[in-house]
C-alpha cells in the first residue's frame, strides 16, 4: 500500500441546454426585475484605457447554420497586457477594465457582439510574448463540455507568426480559424463547431 493521493474528480460538465439565458442573461430573455442588469454586458467605460474595438461573430454548426441559443464569454488582458486577476503577479491591471464579457448569440441572426479594447501582449510560460489575443468560451444546447478557443488579430501578422500557441497548430491552414477577419476597430470572429473550417478548440 502507498498513501492515497486523495484528489477529488472534477464535477462532470453537462450541456448548458436551450435555456442557458434564463440563468446567465435573464434580462436578455425577458426575465426582468431579478437582477439590475445582466453580467458581462458592458466591458468598457469612459475611464478604460486602450483602443476601442468591437468583436462580433457567429457560432456555426456542421451545416453552417448559426446557433441562436449559444452563449459566448470572453476573457482578455488590458491594453498594457495585464489581467485584472489576483493571479496576475506582474503588476496592476487597469482598474477600469475587468476584461470579462458575456454575450448570447442573437435570437434572430445568431450574432454575438462585444465592445471592448484591444489587449496588449502577455508572456507565454517561457517568457516569449504571445500575440494579442482574446480567450473565448462557448456553451450551448448540444455542447457537452464548454469549448475554449482564442481569437487573434489579423493586423498582428508578425506577432502572430511568433505566437507560441499558434506555432503549436500542426496543420498550418487551420491557424486561420483562430484569426479574426475585418480590421480595426471592427473585427469579425466566426466560430465553426465542425466541418472543413472547424475552429481549433483548446484543451488548456
Amino acid at each position: 500500500m502507498v498513501q492515497a493521493l486523495d484528489h477529488l474528480k472534477e464535477t462532470a460538465s453537462q450541456t448548458a441546454g436551450p435555456y442557458v439565458h434564463i440563468g446567465l442573461t435573464p434580462n436578455f430573455c425577458g426575465i426582468g426585475g431579478v437582477y439590475d442588469a445582466d453580467l458581462g454586458t458592458v466591458m468598457v467605460g469612459e475611464k478604460t484605457l486602450g483602443q476601442r474595438i468591437t468583436v462580433s461573430g457567429r457560432v456555426l454548426d456542421g451545416t453552417g447554420t448559426p446557433l441562436k441559443d449559444a452563449l459566448v464569454e470572453i476573457w482578455q488582458a488590458d491594453a498594457a497586457g495585464l489581467y485584472n486577476s489576483p493571479s496576475e503577479m506582474r503588476g496592476s491591471a487597469d482598474p477600469a477594465f475587468l476584461g470579462w464579457g458575456r454575450c448570447p448569440t442573437g435570437a434572430e441572426d445568431g450574432v454575438f457582439r462585444f465592445e471592448t479594447i484591444k489587449p496588449g501582449k502577455v508572456p507565454f510560460k517561457d517568457g516569449r510574448p504571445m500575440a494579442p489575443h482574446i480567450t473565448f468560451w462557448i456553451v450551448a444546447r448540444g455542447i457537452n463540455v464548454g469549448l475554449h478557443t482564442r481569437m487573434y488579430f489579423p493586423d498582428e501578422v508578425e506577432a502572430n507568426a511568433a505566437d507560441p500557441l499558434l506555432l503549436r497548430v500542426e496543420h498550418r491552414d487551420r491557424v486561420a480559424t483562430l484569426v479574426a477577419t475585418g480590421s480595426a476597430p471592427n473585427y469579425i470572429f466566426d466560430i465553426h463547431l465542425q466541418g472543413e473550417k472547424e475552429t481549433v478548440f483548446l484543451d488548456i
Binding site: 474528480k9 464535477t11 440563468g23 489576483p86 480567450t135 488548456i204
Partner: protein, 249 residues
C-alpha cells in the same frame, strides 16, 4: 478583491481535464450534439496566464434575494408554488481546497417542469411567481446555499418519449478562466436520471453519481424546507513550487 487579498497568490496551472470522465463532444443519443460537436482533436496545452487568471466577482454585486428563487420573482407577499427546498454545499477544487468567492448562477424549471422562456413549448402552466434564476458567491470556506422549489421533470424533443429528470442547472466561475464549468444537479432517488440521454452522455457511472444531490435530513428546516447537499469540484491548481516561472514573476 479584498476577500482574497490576504491569500497566497494562485499562479499554478490547472490539472488537465480528464476527458474520459467528462462526456465526449459527440454523443448521438443526445441528438443536438451531432452537428455541434467538434470532430478534430483539441489542441492540448498547459495553461498560460490567459487561462490561469480570472475575474473576481465581489459579494457587493449580489441582491438580498438573488439566491432565493421562491421570492426573487414573486409579487410582494407571495411565493413560488412547489416543494420548498434548500440546496447547499461547497465548491472545492480537485485538491480538496475550498474555492472562496466562486460565482454560482443557477436556473431551473418551475414545479410543473415549465421554463419561463419564449422557446419553451411544454403545456405545463407557468407560475406567475417563479422566474427560475438565481445566483450566489461562495464564502471564505467555499460554502453556498440557495432556496428554491423542487423543479418538475419535463419532456423534450429528442427521442419520441424522452424526459429530463428534475434538475437544476449550475454555472460556476472559480478563480481561473480554465475552471469555467456548467453542469446540472439531480435529486437522490429519481429513477428518471438513468433514462436521460443527457445524463447518459457521461460514460462513467461515478461521474454521474457525483451530480446527484442526497437528501440532507440533518439540515432540513422543520416545518419549512427540506435540504439537499450538492458539492461542486473545480479543476485543481498545481502547487507553484518548482514551476517554470515567467520573466519578472
Amino acid at each position: 478583491m479584498s476577500d482574497r487579498a490576504n491569500r497566497k497568490p494562485e499562479t499554478g496551472a490547472f490539472f488537465p481535464r480528464d476527458r474520459n470522465w467528462h462526456a465526449p463532444a459527440l454523443t448521438p443519443g443526445y441528438k443536438t450534439s451531432v452537428l455541434r460537436s467538434p470532430q478534430k482533436a483539441l489542441l492540448s496545452l498547459d495553461g498560460t496566464i490567459s487561462e490561469i487568471t480570472g475575474p473576481v466577482f465581489g459579494h457587493s454585486m449580489l441582491g438580498e434575494r438573488d439566491n432565493d428563487l421562491i421570492h426573487n420573482f414573486a409579487k410582494p407577499g407571495e411565493s413560488a408554488i412547489g416543494e420548498r427546498i434548500i440546496v447547499h454545499g461547497r465548491v472545492l477544487d480537485e485538491r480538496r481546497r475550498p474555492v472562496p468567492g466562486a460565482l454560482l448562477e443557477f436556473w431551473q424549471a418551475n414545479a410543473g417542469g415549465r421554463y419561463r422562456h419564449k422557446k419553451e413549448s411544454y403545456l405545463a402552466a407557468l407560475d406567475p411567481n417563479f422566474g427560475g434564476c438565481g445566483r450566489t458567491i461562495t464564502d471564505e470556506d467555499g460554502f453556498y446555499s440557495l432556496r428554491t422549489i423542487k423543479p418538475g421533470p419535463y419532456p423534450w424533443p429528442n427521442g419520441v418519449n424522452d424526459w429530463r429528470p428534475a434538475h437544476i442547472h449550475f454555472s460556476i466561475f472559480g478563480h481561473g478562466f480554465a475552471q469555467r464549468l456548467i453542469t446540472q444537479m439531480y435529486f437522490e432517488g429519481d429513477p428518471m436520471i438513468w433514462k436521460c440521454p443527457i445524463v447518459n452522455t457521461i460514460a462513467d457511472r461515478r461521474a454521474i453519481e457525483q451530480l446527484i444531490a442526497p437528501l440532507d435530513w440533518a439540515n432540513t428546516i422543520p416545518m419549512d424546507a427540506r435540504a439537499y447537499k450538492f458539492d461542486i469540484v473545480l479543476r485543481g491548481r498545481r502547487s507553484t513550487l518548482f514551476e517554470n516561472r515567467m520573466e519578472g514573476n
